[in-house]
């Protein structure tokens, strides 16, 4: 197995790993979008900005307060999730009785504000965030070199995704959440505080995005624009997968990351658009999305 279709295995597996990493971020972000959409019925356009905030807050904690990566991994989702809760209480919650489009427009506006503020403060050149020393270096697997940090990202993303799936599908709180997604009025009639459930759900979705941001900080440079570009791809991922199923979101995210990686090996020019092309094909063949129910 020295060459596959004329591609040296190092290059092939390197790109596959990169695809898997991108896929991890797609999966976490589309999972958060799907959870928020399920209960709030809005598409959280701020998601990309919140992912970027995650990376920035991690950088700030390290540089201003000296809190290292491991602390950031826990503290950042809480901080950014809390800002999400404030946004939901102050603004988003006032739009539930309106057309979904207003939620989209509001969160788009919020994304512009957040991105603009960070660009104003930190410029667009990007800030470095060092890989934690416990995860520096890498393993030689024989057919490829695996940087420890990248392996860690893939594993921890999978764990977080599956834990979220478990929490939603198998626990009591998740049961409330699914019930409220189906019929909020009825769930409210059973004495469950649906508005609070909605707020917490939004906070959790945002926290997921921020968590992805912390994971991304050492890989990509911490940059105010990092969220905007990824969120559009995530939208395409969501359209392809459909937002009806949690596992579907996770699978689609990782799968499309791999496809993107493969494309980068065999047809580099197409790697930026391959996900959009797949979206077009899915729309032709199965408009509701691979795992979707018709919205």
């Amino acid at each position: 197995m020295f060459e596959l279709l004329g591609i040296p295995p190092q290059a092939l597996f390197g790109q596959l790993l990169l695809g898997l990493i991108n896929g991890s971020f797609y999966a976490i972000l589309s999972l958060g979008l799907a959870i928020i959409f399920g209960l709030l019925n809005i598409i959280n356009f701020t998601h990309g900005a919140q992912y970027m905030m995650g990376a920035f807050v991690a950088w700030m904690l390290l540089n201003y307060l000296g809190i290292p990566y491991w602390g950031a991994l826990i503290v950042v989702p809480i901080i950014v999730g809390a800002t999400g809760i404030v946004l939901e209480r102050l603004l988003i919650s006032r739009l539930y009785h309106l057309d979904h489009l207003y939620g989209l427009l509001l969160t788009f506006g919020l994304a512009l504000i957040i991105t603009g503020i960070f660009r104003n403060q930190y410029g667009i050149s990007g800030l470095p965030y060092a890989i934690p020393k416990q995860l520096a270096g890498g393993q030689n697997l024989g057919f490829m070199f695996l940087p420890n940090y990248r392996g860690w990202v893939v594993v921890v993303s999978l764990v977080v995704c599956l834990a979220t799936w478990f929490a939603i599908e198998k626990t009591r709180l998740g049961g409330y959440l699914r019930a409220a997604t189906e019929n909020p009025t009825m769930v409210g009639a059973f004495g469950i505080n649906v508005p609070r459930l909605i707020t917490l759900t939004y906070g959790f979705g945002v926290a997921l995005a921020a968590f992805a941001g912390v994971l991304a900080a050492p890989i990509y440079s911490v940059n105010p624009n990092m969220g905007a570009d990824v969120i559009i791809v995530v939208f395409a991922v969501v359209v392809i997968g459909g937002m009806g199923s949690i596992l579907g979101s996770i699978l689609t995210g990782f799968g499309l990351g791999l496809v993107e990686g493969l494309t980068r090996v065999f047809y580099p020019e197409g790697s930026a658009v391959v996900i959009f092309v797949i979206m077009a094909i899915v729309l032709l063949v199965k408009p509701a999305g691979l795992f979707g129910r018709e919205a």
């Binding site: 603004l91 427009l105 509001l106 919020l110 504000i113 503020i117 092309v277 919205a295």
Partner: protein
């Protein structure tokens, strides 16, 4: 179709004057035209032309959102691709400006047909995401395609000679040409809105299921308005390329799609004249805040939030409510 005309009769009973143009609208159009004729003597013509191009762009977008009920978050794709085609044909093939603009408009219509026929398979929020994703695809294409000049764009596009005769190099000449193009574009949009086709669109916007049960093939209407909107957005973009002698990635980037949504929202979705005002306000704001860098983005975000939270009808929508006339 007999059912067609009956439908429209019913709709128009309580809206006298919907067949011709109401006096008020006539007055506003004439006012706008007069304003357009004298404005270059008071303000910088390039700035005015920018306002006009964006006004047309916003009205084209509003045709889709305000009257078709379809939120496209990727209208930069049509605006930008038309801008590239018009710039390329004018520069590389030496097309006259009107021909270059027509080519750009046609290209935008074809692109609109391709993307629209896929996008209308999904509704609501998915529709917005699909159009945004396809627009991003067009952006990446524009970034990599050999004829677009990548990051540099297509620069120093010749303004050329109108019909091969009248030089467009003096700002004043070009200004009146652009005024003509934009004004005709606005009248076309007005005509579409108030045609039987436009009435069916409003029916679909308000209750698609009912229109289906009345026997309308709603997806055809949606596709038709999508293509019309894309073509008119293209007309705006193509004209803009001739005015600024430049087609660049800014025109196809998602921020441009967001800007046109903002202009429409601020002016008033579903109003005839709102997007014109919205475009004027936003372009003016961009001009004044341009030196402050990212404050333009922040300001736009704040306007978005304020508009969504406090006045969803938009400026013109509020005025229309106060004077109790549709505007």
């Amino acid at each position: 179709m007999a059912t067609d005309s009956e439908m429209i009769d019913v709709v128009q009973v309580d809206r006298p004057g919907a067949i011709g143009m109401p006096m008020l609208h006539k007055a506003i159009f004439i006012g706008l035209l007069l304003l357009g004729l004298v404005a270059p003597f008071m303000l910088y013509p390039i700035f005015l032309m920018k306002v006009m191009c964006f006004a047309l762009f916003a009205c084209a977008f509003n045709l889709l959102l305000g009257f078709g009920g379809l939120l496209s978050f990727g209208h930069a794709a049509y605006f930008g691709s038309a801008s590239y085609i018009s710039a390329y044909t004018a520069k590389a093939w030496g097309f006259t400006p009107e021909l270059a603009i027509l080519c750009g408009t046609g290209a935008a219509a074809i692109l609109g047909l391709a993307i629209g026929s896929l996008a209308i398979r999904r509704q609501g929020i998915y529709f917005a995401m699909v159009t945004l994703a396809f627009a991003q695809m067009v952006f990446f294409f524009s970034l990599q395609a050999p004829f677009t000049g990548g990051e540099d764009g297509i620069q120093s596009v010749p303004r050329g000679y109108l019909l091969g005769l009248i030089s467009m190099a003096p700002d004043r000449n070009l200004y009146y040409f652009v005024l003509g193009v934009v004004f005709v574009g606005l009248l076309v949009i007005y005509r579409i809105i108030h045609s039987p086709f436009g009435q069916v669109l409003k029916g679909i916007r308000d209750n698609e299921a009912r229109m289906v049960s009345l026997g309308y093939r709603t997806s055809r209407y949606k596709l038709a308005v999508f293509v019309l909107s894309a073509a008119l957005a293209g007309l705006a973009g193509a004209t803009k390329a001739i005015v600024f002698q430049l087609a660049s990635l800014t025109d196809v980037y998602w921020t441009m799609s967001g800007e046109v949504v903002l202009m429409t929202l601020l002016g008033g979705m579903g109003t005839v004249f709102g997007p014109i005002l919205g475009a004027a306000v936003i372009v003016t704001m961009q001009n004044y805040l341009a030196t402050f860098g990212d404050w333009v983005t922040i300001g736009q975000g704040i306007i978005f939030v304020v508009a969504v939270m406090l006045f969803r009808e938009g400026i013109v929508g509020v005025i229309a409510r106060i004077i109790r006339r549709p505007l």
